[in-house]
């Protein structure tokens, strides 16, 4: 699902991680999220973008405004055509990492946001979609 309101941020280097989270924060502020929620969203984007750089080398972060009945929200989609995640269930466990990092990535991102969805298959890439709704 792509619309006119989509903001794509190409992720190729660690500089793009900063760019993506800044775009995410300003969109969140525009939508009326609190500073605190904007920080949670920016932090989640930072982690997702870093996963792209670390595991896939390059990919795309797409920011989108959500309008559903009476609620407003923000959606962040991180997609890449990297190696994919062989065992998604394992990757969602605290403390699991294949790159020698802290292993807080995905479970941490899930805690920062309201909704979390992951599609990944080995050899084809990974798409992670997270959403946060305005309270």
């Amino acid at each position: 699902m792509t619309g006119a309101s989509d903001i794509p941020v190409h992720i190729r280097s660690d500089q793009d991680i900063v760019r993506a989270r800044q775009r995410g924060r300003s969109l969140a502020m525009e939508l009326g999220f609190s500073e605190g929620d904007a920080t949670l969203i920016a932090t989640a984007i930072s982690e997702l973008a870093r996963n792209i750089v670390c595991y896939a080398g390059k990919g795309l972060i797409t920011l989108q405004t959500l309008n559903s009945c009476s609620r407003k929200g923000i959606q962040v989609r991180a997609s890449d055509r990297g190696p994919g995640i062989a065992d998604v269930r394992q990757a969602l466990q605290d403390g699991y990492s294949t790159s020698g990092s802290l292993g807080i990535g995905l479970p941490g991102v899930r805690r920062l946001m309201d909704e979390f969805q992951i599609n990944s298959s080995a050899g084809k890439g990974t798409t992670i979609t997270v959403r946060k709704w305005k309270p």
């Binding site: 500089q15 989270r21 920080t39 920016a42 930072s46 605290d94 802290l102 807080i104 941490g108 920062l112």
Partner: protein, 120 residues
């Protein structure tokens, strides 16, 4: 973006900007340890007041900096973690365990001064 490092007596003060990339953090790590060795500093304060996001990489790098500097016999204090940033860090499971933190620059300097007095 370079992180400015100031020398104040026996203490080095590094002030983070909002938008630090991983490369900036890595260069700060090597720059700080080099300065601590060169200037024989006894304390380091890392001021993160302006930092917009403290993610897993930033937090790990800060912990590494503190550990390296401790091995040199000096002490590191992280100051100025904003409430929103602290909340996000806890949600992510980043606790900066083993690293001294203080409210702001003033408190950080007071902590180090007190520490130096007790050792001397």
């Amino acid at each position: 973006m370079e992180v400015p490092v100031l020398k104040q007596g026996e203490v080095l003060i590094a002030t983070f900007q909002a938008a630090l990339s991983d490369a900036d953090l890595k260069s700060l790590r090597s720059n700080l340890i080099a300065q601590v060795v060169k200037l024989r500093s006894r304390g380091v304060i890392v001021d993160v007041t302006a930092m917009d996001v403290m993610d897993s990489f930033a937090s790990r790098t800060l912990r590494e900096i503190a550990q390296m500097i401790r091995l040199r016999g000096a002490e590191t204090v992280i100051v100025g973690i904003q409430p929103d940033v602290a909340f996000a860090m806890v949600q992510l499971g980043l606790t900066l365990e083993g690293v001294v933190t203080a409210l702001d620059l003033e408190e950080g300097l007071a902590y180090l001064t007190n520490k130096f007095k007790n050792i001397a």
